[in-house]
């Protein structure tokens, strides 16, 4: 069985198995956290229908409802008997819900204060908020989902854009699985051939077969092709970091808001602990973007401000894209040179703001913008997308990409082992040594798809060859 403990820790570790208790009733918002017409709250755990009864305006109907039925009614505050929200409740009886447990889905109005007050009531009747991935964990533990699908669900849940969502969905449907399985079969074929040579004495099998270099190199090429999708998968899965830098009053906040307004699918707003920077999430052309509005870059002796600048520098070093914003009314080609170290950075785009307030020509290579009026914004935005996707081919939504570093590591491992196997075979080292590397490659691929037993190698040998003695 090919299932290393490291894999176990990585996958299960992500699910926090040790802290989950499958006996509790858990709840969570199944739709995005934000203002929307409708929100869905999912509740799972034995006895959750019974527990919900005191909060529902029609407790008897709820208690008597069959699985997969929808009830209309009010959620009420049991203390004051006043309705909190008008809702639809869908009941899934034991074994029938997403998690394989008794569960309930409440469709309510999507206002944040409304949802919060429902949560408070749920807590009052003894339920607790679900930890990240806990629903998937339960589904998995109740046999509703296998491990690779569970892993894909985990990524869908945490995916930051629609595109990465569809990539993970492809994996969920087993596309990646079948591709890796195909490559694995290719390697297995070679292993079977090598093992056949090793399992029988020279005089039993007439001729040595030529080592199939071609087949291994082909398998390696296919693995490498999949590996090269990792950067793209990462971009769409984890998102790009875009940092706005520049002097205070250059108009960074205006551009920040422009970028945020670009897409309606703003996920949430997270504030920094200090006022060093503001982080916000948005989506540009399908690419999830984490946008940082930083403190100014000017020198300062103020200790607090210096700390802010230090953090800005750190942000800059981790950025995928830096927008250096300068006030066009204050700068010219010469004064720009003080930002030389940033401008030389290939990740940097120079944005020349406040073109509406000056007639001076913008600096060479800069992107003129009037953040206030929105002039020049479309061009800037296109350039940002172009820069972010420069290193990667854009997936068409159907293409297979790998996103998790586990997959990347195992594929890399397989590719390296194949390289070594080919090299050893070229040096004409004995086949049993080459076989160690092939086994290593098979192991790595197997850990992505499931099991490789030495049984299926034997199976192949005997189905395809005639042997004596």
């Amino acid at each position: 069985m090919i299932w290393t403990r490291a894999t176990r820790i990585r996958i299960l570790g992500r699910m926090n198995v040790h802290t989950y208790d499958t006996k509790d009733i858990i709840y969570a918002l199944a739709t995005a956290w934000g203002t929307a017409p409708i929100a869905v709250i999912r509740i799972s755990g034995q006895g959750c229908v019974e527990a919900l009864k005191p909060l529902f305006s029609r407790p008897e109907a709820l208690g008597a409802s069959a699985s997969h039925t929808v009830l209309h009614g009010d959620l009420i505050d049991p203390k004051y008997k006043n309705p909190i929200d008008e809702v639809l409740v869908t009941v899934f009886r034991d074994g029938r819900g997403y998690t394989g447990e008794e569960s309930v889905e409440i469709s309510c109005h999507g206002s944040i204060p409304g949802i919060e007050s429902i949560f408070a009531q749920l807590k009052d009747v003894g339920m607790r908020p679900a930890s990240p991935g806990e629903f998937t964990f339960r589904a998995f533990m109740h046999g509703r989902m296998d491990l690779t699908r569970a892993e894909a669900v985990m990524e869908i849940v945490s995916s930051q854009s629609r595109l990465s969502h569809s990539l993970a969905l492809g994996r969920l449907e087993g596309n990646l699985f079948s591709l890796i399985e195909e490559i694995k079969q290719q390697v297995l074929q070679v292993v079977s051939m090598v093992e056949l040579q090793l399992d029988y004495a020279e005089d039993e099998i007439a001729d040595d077969v030529a080592f199939p270099f071609e087949a291994l190199e082909e398998a390696k090429r296919r693995i490498d092709a999949l590996l090269s999708t990792y950067e793209m998968g990462k971009l769409y899965g984890e998102g790009a970091r875009v940092v706005l830098a520049g002097a205070t009053n250059a108009g960074k906040s205006t551009l920040f808001n422009l970028l945020l307004r670009e897409e309606r699918s703003i996920v949430s707003e997270v504030h920094g602990t200090t006022r060093d920077f503001i982080e916000s999430k948005t989506v540009l052309d399908g690419i999830p973007v984490r946008l940082y509005d930083t403190a100014g870059l000017r020198e300062s002796s103020d200790a607090i401000e210096m700390e802010g600048i230090r953090r800005t520098r750190k942000l800059l070093s981790e950025a995928d894209l830096i927008l250096l914003m300068l006030d066009g009314t204050e700068h010219d080609d010469t004064s720009v040179s003080q930002y030389r170290h940033l401008l030389e950075d290939p990740r940097c785009i120079l944005v020349w703001n406040k073109t509406d307030l000056t007639t001076k020509p913008p600096a060479k290579g800069s992107y003129p913008l009037s953040a206030k009026r929105g002039e020049g914004f479309a061009t800037l935005r296109d350039e940002m997308v172009r820069r972010l996707t420069k290193e990667t081919d854009r997936p068409d939504g159907q293409a297979l990409v790998i996103e998790s570093s586990r997959q990347r590591d195992e594929l890399k491992h397989a590719s390296d082992a194949l390289v070594r196997a080919v090299a050893l075979a070229r040096e004409e080292l004995p086949m049993d040594i080459v076989a160690v590397e092939l086994a290593e490659a098979l192991h790595a691929l197997g850990s992505l798809t499931g099991e490789v037993a030495s049984d299926d190698i034997l199976e192949r040998i005997f189905s395809r060859f005639c042997v004596g003695k």
């Binding site: 069985m1 403990r5 046999g143 296998d146 399992d199 005089d203 007439a206 160690v436 030495s454």
Partner: protein, 606 residues
């Protein structure tokens, strides 16, 4: 109790089991149907071969007898697969079958605490609650009691042989089957299946034309299988090779309907890797010829073994197809080829100690567990004997794992996956074969046998001596310069062997061949062995996650029904073993691991 232990059957498994028990100090009775058939080489007159040769040397390192027996009876010796790499090389020897049998019987007779008795066991006796064995009953009406029993019935349990239309209740041609025991075990709830194997015809040497065949000589130097001595000096005989042809295949095809295999009379499944000649002809119609080895059965006999020609076709057909082959045109058939079908007990019913899960103190080994081959039988017999003895002494069983021996691989495969056809050992069944070379069996297993009590202090001293001499060779290679480079660096090159350094480093000549050979391999393959060791580490981690014997699989609602049934049937003792059960889903294993991890956490808190 009449004895501490009873061993049923005196084949290759029974010999090892009875010797291990008596050598460990327990009064033991060995019951056989025929004292003249002890240690008989019923099929091929040879011991060893790829992976099998490793098993023989493991048996020897563990304090078993097979290595001594073949060393004393070999009439040809070869190291197979010299070209294909160190891990897959193995010794194979042709045996003089009379000497092999005589040495086996003499060894048993010379052993203290061991009684031999000729009778046929027809049933086992169970204690009051039917959960524990207390003895056996025999055909002649004896009831003999013992605390532990080792069952090694080979092909004799309800054995039936087939030659075309002819069939007889025999375990071997001319030797009657053990009737009744298989039925009795079925009635006691054992899962019993049928397997089939076969053996080729024996032809008379003086009727063959060897000038029309290709000679196959042995190696110039014979090497012992046993680690107890360094050299062996016996005369070597030739084997020969010939081939079937289009005419042979035509005769077989035209008569295939007369084979009991194709007529449906044989229900037992035969081995895929050792198919009968008719099987090969039918399954591989594109092959123009198949290889036949003509091997002597012994020194004082004219009988020759036609390796590669097992068959169950009628005798007139056998005569016709054998005589269609070059060199065999005038062959006189002395014994016909035949197929044998017999009862075996599903090995999933065993713990890795080879003790039955249903009946305590009953150990089962050899062909009875669905294996094929003398070597496979011997290593099981030895482990069953050791563990029966440890049970008597109240000690935990000796369980060898997959990373340290072929014996461990074999037993783990049997008790974890079961088998539906005769199980033969192959090197590819072992994941870590670089660590399991035949020449390192003593390093791997002798200390364990010493701890068990089957290897004397001298064996340990010899092992230490060998290890220190290997180090001395490596030191020498490290210090000596050849053409301006360290000798050890030169040796790392694929094209240079230690023999090439003899001239420049003459002191090497004073070291024994096995010592030089091991030093060479250590130097050459250190990197790969290290990689393999990392793989072993990975494997061991899974083995170390233990599953309690009484684990309640019904309480895990997430398991697939299929995996649940398999877990319950096998009762794996570790997650590693659970993962090797065929058809167990990865996610089921993961569920199991999560629960065990939580359980451990819980235990830690408590």
């Amino acid at each position: 109790m009449d004895y501490d232990a009873i061993v049923i059957g005196a084949g290759h498994a029974g010999i090892e089991a009875s010797l291990a028990l008596s050598r460990l100090g327990f009064s033991t009775l060995l019951i056989t149907q025929n004292l003249d058939a002890i240690g008989r080489l019923s099929c091929n007159p040879a011991i060893g071969g790829l992976a099998k040769g490793n098993l023989v040397r493991e048996v020897d390192a563990l304090g078993g007898e097979m290595g001594h027996l073949i060393d004393a009876s070999m009439i040809q010796f070869r190291i197979l697969n010299r070209r294909r790499g160190p891990a897959v090389q193995a010794p194979r020897a042709q045996a003089d079958k009379f000497t092999y049998h005589r040495m086996a019987k003499e060894t048993l007779e010379a052993q203290g605490k061991l009684a031999l008795f000729q009778d046929t066991v027809v049933d086992i006796l169970l204690g009051e609650d039917n959960s524990k064995i207390i003895g056996v009953s025999t055909e002649r009406g004896h009831r003999i009691t013992a605390t532990v029993v080792v069952l090694t019935t080979g092909t004799f349990m309800e054995g039936k042989i087939f030659i075309g239309e002819y069939e007889a209740r025999s375990g071997r041609l001319g030797e009657s089957a053990a009737i009744g025991l298989g039925t009795a075990l079925r009635q006691k709830g054992f899962t019993v299946g049928r397997l089939k194997t076969g053996t080729p015809a024996r032809v008379r040497k003086s009727s063959l034309d060897f000038s029309a065949m290709v000679e196959q000589p042995g190696d110039p130097v014979m090497m012992p299988f046993s680690f107890d001595y360094q050299t062996i000096d016996r005369p070597s005989l030739q084997c020969h090779i010939t081939w079937t042809n289009a005419e042979t295949h035509r005769i077989i095809r035209e008569n295939i309907h007369r084979s009991p295999l194709y007529g449906g009379k044989i229900v037992g499944k035969g081995p895929r890797y050792c198919p009968s000649i008719e099987d090969k002809v039918v399954r591989f119609p594109e092959r123009e010829r198949h290889q036949i080895f003509v091997e002597p059965e012994g020194v004082g006999t004219e009988e020759m073994y036609l390796n590669g020609m097992s068959s169950s076709l009628p005798e007139d057909v056998q005569v016709a197809f054998i005589r269609s082959i070059r060199g065999l045109e005038h062959a006189q058939i002395m014994r016909p080829a035949y197929a044998v079908e017999y009862d075996y007990l599903d090995p999933l019913q065993l713990y890795p100690s080879l003790e039955s899960k249903h009946v305590k103190n009953l150990f089962i080994a050899g062909q009875t567990n669905g294996t094929s081959g003398y070597e496979e039988a011997a290593c099981q017999g030895l482990v069953a004997g050791i563990n029966a003895a440890r049970k008597l002494a109240g000690e935990p069983p000796l369980i060898l794992d997959r990373s340290e021996s072929y014996t461990g691989v074999l037993i783990d495969d049997l008790v974890t996956k079961g088998t539906k056809e005769p199980y033969r050992m192959f090197t590819s069944r072992a994941e870590y074969r670089l660590n399991m070379r035949h020449d390192s069996a003593d390093q791997r297993l002798t200390p364990k046998a010493h701890a068990v009590g089957l290897q004397p202090d001298e064996a340990m001293a010899r092992l230490q001596e060998k290890l220190s001499r290997i180090e001395m060779v490596k030191d020498l290679l490290e210090k000596r310069k050849v053409e301006g480079r360290k000798a050890i660096e030169l040796l790392r090159k694929p094209e240079i062997g230690i023999a090439d350094l003899m001239e420049s480093v003459p002191e090497l000549a004073s070291f024994e061949e096995p010592v030089c050979y091991q030093a060479e391999l250590d130097v050459k393959y250190a990197g790969y062995v290290k990689r393999q060791e990392r793989q072993v580490d990975r494997f061991s981690r899974m083995e170390r996650i233990r599953i309690p014997e009484d684990f309640d699989y019904d309480a895990l609602d997430g398991l697939s029904a299929e995996s649940r049934e398999k877990f319950k049937a096998v009762r794996p003792l570790s997650v590693g073993q659970a993962g090797r059960i065929s058809g167990v889903r990865t996610s089921d294993l993961a569920i199991l691991m999560v629960l065990l991890a939580r359980r451990t956490d819980h235990d830690d808190e408590a």
